[in-house]
Symmetry: C2
Subunit: 223 residues, 2 copies
Amino acid sequence: MKFPVLSRSPLFTGIPDDDIERLFECIIYRVRFYPEGSVAALAGEEIVSLQIVLSGSMRGEMTDLAGRTIKIEDIFPPQALAAAFIFGAGARYPVNVIANSDSELLIISGNDYMALMKRDPRVLSNYLNVVCTKALFLSGRLRFLSFHTIKGKFAHYLSTLPGAASGKVLIDRTQQELSEFFGVTRPSLARAIGEMEDEGLISVNRREVRLKDLKGLSGLSQA
Amino acid sequence: MKFPVLSRSPLFTGIPDDDIERLFECIIYRVRFYPEGSVAALAGEEIVSLQIVLSGSMRGEMTDLAGRTIKIEDIFPPQALAAAFIFGAGARYPVNVIANSDSELLIISGNDYMALMKRDPRVLSNYLNVVCTKALFLSGRLRFLSFHTIKGKFAHYLSTLPGAASGKVLIDRTQQELSEFFGVTRPSLARAIGEMEDEGLISVNRREVRLKDLKGLSGLSQA
DNA sequence: CATGGATTGTAACATATGTTACAAACAGGC
DNA sequence: GCCTGTTTGTAACATATGTTACAATCCATG
């Protein structure tokens, strides 16, 4: 197997190594080495190929108006760069991609990758799964941020937990994690929860929450 | 042509009507009629088929904890329901889907739709384009909301306009539209712009903005 | 049971944004 | 030019959230 790491990639999951190897005989690909600090893609550059991190690691960085850089995310093997964007109309890299350490990328042109999808239904199915799951995730996050008060976010969050209908739920993370998920600070979240308790909407005992006023709670998850 | 509206759908764009007709001979599909007010899908229900609105219109609605409903969006022909989600892992409808008026939906199972993609590269290419473009859009919106101050959003917005590098840009929408795009109120946006002018970051003349302090501006688009 | 680290609760103050209202500047049609 | 509706600028006040700091509680471990 040429690239054993591929079998752990969601794009090639469920495909035996021999089959992967055979598939790669049908297309053109190349492996490119990026020394530490080198640039694999610039923000705004058109996305024309699928690039899978084989070794090392890359980071996505934005450059602001003054030329300073902000790290957005790290990309480890066997993840791919902007996989969910590649076939979008005029898709461009949203960030600069830089090698954190000496790294190798497997590069397959969009056309060749599409050829793989046509040839093997498993490749097609895997890719559809990856990109749809990404869209689902993004959509969920976006819906979440559309509640702009902390109480609204918390009320909506409660409603998504198992047992919400029964009026009693168990929160599955710490306030710290929850506050990061909401994009707010931890004390602000604690205060909001306290106020909701004062207002008689819920009663809280650490991780355990009883929903006392469903109508009132739902009123919060509007704005 | 059985469903002339399909040729206007992004999923079947660029495919001559005869070819579409021929494709549909290879798969199982059905057209289902939904009288006004009837429910086509419930939030949380698994997404197993592609559903394209042929006539009438549908709306996506959320039900809150108290059973009240909030309209999220309208879906007109030839749009599809949750097209970008269908192949996601355990994909479920995020909203209830209700018929605004007497409507018809074309229903194709996920498997059959995938069969169409395998059979015709144009169908594949169209779908990939649709779902990737959706992911791009969602990702862009999300990045935008991650700037939590209005000044940060505005600074970032300025940096995306053509001519930002030259230090002079022309805003292409009204403050009202911009404030909705940012998810803030119009007076708050105007105030933020005014303050940025006072601080010497920019100088504004109606739609025309000169970027005077790139370093300062970039400092805003961090948090 | 004692201890220390993690988690949660709470407070005072600063700041950003929303809300509401109105005035000023612009743009297009008569 | 003169209106009228739209867009932009500005103000006073209310509210939500961030910031910082510290206390109280929980929980695992010795």
